[in-house]
């Protein structure tokens, strides 16, 4: 299927105007021996054929929608109101680019401004950027930000072992080989935030924690923030935004930077992307934040309008002195989250968060009653929890799958001492019937 509209007559007229005989004549600057390579690709398909082929491939996935799923670990199944996709499908949004020309981009600009506002409200922070790639890269940018805020004078970053292992891996990719030292990841998993306090010293630029953490646990980080500030360090908290529908926001605990994965806010699982990076901070650090920012102003006719602002931080102006190399954000995913939060609003997001909380607690309570099963941690949790099983979790998952259940994340792959541990996730989409089925099936297959 071609999307090139030219007729033979168009081509002839255009070539004549240019003053060449054939299209090939336009490529004489390309070294001849490399010009017009023969590409070995499948023969082109029509739209009808292509979609048919894609449907076949999609069916080769056994997706979580066809099964009962309790898998989360950083990507969550939630109900997405129909209105969200109806907005994402509007060509005016999805076929526009970065709003460089504000006179004809007020739709995207105001949507970003509202996104920034909603995220500020949700996190309890003061400034949000226009979005980032995902939760992991947002955390890596927080690390870079803290380095810049301290003007490179502090080189120690404390990473809680309770941060998603893939997020920590991304921070390592960004920072390894640089002059930052990453510590704290080998702390005892049961130790909680107090253990981090002991690591903070006058070389510490940033302490990073997650809320809820990778194991679902929630802590009040107020004391940790105070301890960090007492030594001149900053606190970054990586959040799951659904939890903030119910729980005290990190802005109220004294966090200096809040990052997070915005996927739970109306963005489908889509095998891991595209997702949405949340990045927020305090007003005083606005000049060190990475990514686009939209600010309010007025136009030549006195009307309120919005523009990209503080672009002197960015690569297209500052080049090698920029605060980050980031260029695009996650515009369309930002729009999904904005639509989702606008639709759910104050009561809807609270309902989703409470529903997740109660269902997860029901599941945990019932599973803990099973012979040979127990909860690994005693701490408060949101909608995920770690279950210690009588057999290796990976093995248990295979047995669950045979009975139509996608079990939790088997922690042994990342944590060698936790072969028998499974991280289970329960959201508003999991009915009591599904939870009961999981509990029954666990009892059945664990001792089979």
């Amino acid at each position: 299927m071609t999307f090139v509209p030219h007729t033979e007559r168009d081509r002839q007229q255009m070539l004549e105007a240019i003053g060449v005989k054939t299209i090939a004549d336009l490529f004489e600057a390309v070294p001849q021996k490399f010009r017009f390579p023969k590409l070995n690709l499948p023969a082109p398909l029509t739209e009808m054929e292509a979609l048919g082929e894609l449907k076949g491939i999609a069916e080769a996935n056994e997706s979580a929608d066809d099964l009962v799923s309790f898998l989360g670990a950083g990507a969550y199944h939630h109900y997405i109101p129909a209105g969200v996709d109806s907005i994402l499908r509007r060509g005016e949004y999805y076929t526009a680019y970065t709003p460089y020309q504000p006179e004809i981009s007020q739709g995207t600009l105001q949507a970003i401004f509202e996104y920034q506002s909603l995220i500020v409200a949700l996190t309890g922070m003061e400034v949000s950027n226009a979005s980032h790639y995902d939760g992991a890269t947002a955390l890596a940018e927080a690390v870079n930000m803290s380095h810049a805020i301290h003007r490179g004078a502090r080189n120690k970053i404390i990473l809680s072992p309770g941060i998603h292992p893939q997020y920590r891996a991304v921070v390592h990719t960004y920072e390894d080989g640089g002059d930052l030292q990453l510590i704290g990841e080998d702390l005892d998993l049961s130790a909680g935030p107090d253990a981090l306090i002991e690591l903070i010293d006058e070389h510490t630029a940033l302490v990073c924690v997650a809320y809820p953490d990778f194991f679902g646990r929630v802590y009040d980080y107020t004391k940790l923030a105070e301890a960090a500030h007492a030594k001149g360090a900053l606190l970054a908290v990586s959040v799951n935004p659904t939890a903030l529908g119910l729980l005290k926001p990190p802005g109220e605990m004294g966090a200096d930077i809040v990052t997070g994965e915005g996927q739970p806010l109306g963005i489908p699982l889509s095998f891991g992307g595209p997702y949405l990076g949340i990045l927020t901070t305090r007003n005083q650090y606005v000049r060190q934040i990475a990514g686009r920012l939209v600010g309010e102003t007025v136009d030549s006719r006195g009307q309120r309008g919005f523009v990209l602002t503080l672009s002197t931080r960015e690569q297209h102006i500052k080049r090698e002195k920029a605060s980050s190399n980031i260029c695009t954000n996650q515009g369309l995913m930002m729009l999904a989250a904005t639509t989702y939060m606008s639709l759910l609003g104050k009561s809807g997001l609270r309902q989703v968060a409470e529903s997740c909380y109660h269902k997860a607690h029901y599941a945990a309570t019932e599973i803990a009653k099973l012979k040979g099963f127990g909860l690994k941690f005693k701490d408060a949790f949101f909608h995920e929890f770690v279950v210690e099983c009588p057999i290796p979790a990976a093995e248990l998952n295979l047995r669950l799958l045979e009975l139509g259940i996608v079990g939790g994340y088997a922690l042994g792959a990342e944590y060698p001492g936790m072969q028998n541990c499974m991280l289970l996730t329960v959201t508003e989409l999991n009915s009591k019937e599904e939870i009961d089925y999981l509990v029954e099936t666990l009892a059945e297959v664990a001792h089979a």
Partner: protein, 498 residues
Amino acid sequence: MLELPKAQPTELIYDLGAPGRTGVQMPAPDVPLADLPSGLVRDNLPLPELSELEALRHLTRLSQLNHSILTGFYPLGSCTMKYNPIVNEEAARLGGFIHAHPLQPAEMMQGSLAIMYHLQEWLKEIGGFAAVSLQPAAGAQGELAGVLMIKAYHASRGQSQRNKVLIPDSAHGTNPATSAMSGYRVVEIPSDARGNLDLEALKAECDDTLAAFMLTNPNTLGLFEEGVQEAIEAVHAAGGLVYGDGANMNALLGIARPGDLGIDVLHYNLHKTFTTPHGGGGPGSGPVGVAAHLADFLPGPIVGIEEEGSEEMGPVYGWHQPPKSIGRLKAFHGQFGMHVRAFTYILMQGAEGLRSVAEHAVLNANYLRVKLQGAYKVPYDRVCMHEVVLEGRWADAPDVHALDIAKRLMDFGFHPPTNYFPLIVREALMIEPTETESKEVLDAFIEAMLTIAKEAHSTPEVLQQAPHTTKYGRMDEVKAARQLVLCCEIPREVSSEQ
């Protein structure tokens, strides 16, 4: 002075709705309620309260304030604003893909892995590379991946003294920003009178501290680098590697393969070349392709074949971490939804279709070049590739700037070209028409540009005050930066419990 129409005031989300309203009702929990964690429950969730219609009407009305590819010509240079096939959107939303959890075992996700495997293979073939990783989230992250791989490669050979990256003065700002992020010193290479990079200046920097040369080809002037082979040979002879910025890959599809030219690593922009939507500024997707000697350093995981297929059964795909990988660049597997869209596009194009894309992108740009030449100065006057750069200035109209031309174009219903970039052209207007625009659209654009060139001399104030017909006039950007207002006023009500 003309009385200009004022737009309907657009309310902010926090101006809409009323206490107690909601756009979604969720079912009550069907399980016994648990105690909420003491001391950790928030008092106040200051989100707005809108009905479903209020929320959707608000966002729909906002959308109508945007210019977009679906509503008009969008010749924004360097961004490849071509048509984004609707079928891509259907494909990416198929149930099997959209509900797939990234941590489900590979055996359950053979469909997703097949998409990624084939896309890797096709990008290898299109770019002339030995291996591809789809991990990077966007072009800038693809660049970061490339530069980190180059750094790891030199370190693995005991060549960590290589601390310098050469970047042409016409390059995108991401190139120097990425190099600096990776701890490299940036040396700028000037351009010559034909718009090529200055080969002598490049060669003078080719020594044993050279880590990499970052090349954009065609360059941001829209010109194919005439000395590309010599440049690459000089860098390689000095032990450096060549990074290719794939932003302009639309000009090279089926025309030349960067890998054949000797480029060691290149990022693709799926949202430019391969029609995944720009989304109002993302999500992008920036896969990287590499020559064989860098394959072990790719960010992972990438998809490989675990078991070869037979006549009855397809192959079994699995995850594979390259042995010296620079690591992970984001959580999970890259912007998978964008992989599906790019896969769908390539599937519909095939080899001939892709070559036709590049040919017509170049035909369109050259047509604009010859038609606008004369009325506008073309600073580097030779056959261009997929875009053409003009000067938006005239000696006899000193008060008119590229910005004025850009704003005036809006009155004719066109999105302006990229302006003030590349930095080496004064008052630059960088025009990339793309292959999906017809001759009629180009002719209308040419007519508008010629009219504007006349107005610049006869009635410059018309340009300086433009746009006139849009809902909004020029924005006060200085005020926005000086009196920072970055969010709505958020109601901070005190909880009734306190």
